[in-house]
Subunit: 106 residues, 2 copies
């Protein structure tokens, strides 16, 4: 199975595919095409999330930082449980492909 082809058409809405679900973890591929979090919305998750950008470009923002972070292919970061964050922007011109590994953090 391949993460990068074929890619779903995400122009209408983000496409989320769950690749693995186990008790401890869940792995998702998310394809965006210009979508962003709604104004004022912040993710506030019980799980930790390790995220890798595979294609495209995005700006991810943490509530505890003043500036968003620009992510390009190969960039990764770990989002601790309850660390509030949002997606300010994804590139509307090309698919943005995320790999997200959600994990329980005791």
């Amino acid at each position: 199975m391949n993460l990068l082809s074929p890619l779903p058409d995400a122009r209408g809405a983000e496409a989320v595919d769950t690749l693995l679900t186990r008790s401890a973890i869940r792995i998702e591929r998310i394809v965006s095409r210009g979508q962003a979090s709604p104004p004022g919305f912040w993710y506030d998750q019980e799980e930790g999330e390790w995220v890798l950008l595979l294609a495209g470009a995005a700006r991810l923002r943490f509530a505890d930082e003043t500036e968003p972070r620009l992510l390009v292919p190969g960039d990764w970061l770990d989002i601790a449980p309850r660390r509030r964050h949002r997606v300010d922007w994804t590139d509307p011109a090309t698919p943005t492909v995320w790999l997200a590994v959600f994990y329980r953090s005791p």
Copy 2:
């Protein structure tokens, strides 16, 4: 932090970097440059391993299959605990970059 650049020079030996360690999971980047598992060697792991090829090319073989699987960028697979496997080949001409997510499977 970026997984794809800079890449370590793996011509002498595989380069393994641990990106995240939590109780439930461990995420590693592995860079190969022509290395393979030793003849007759099989991995036999207690943990599950979800693996994604990010760059290069490899042939991964399961003990319960007759033919190795050719992996190209974007290919991923889940290796169940105790499923014996080995790396038959990685491309000697270019770095092969693996993302490996090891997880405990009850």
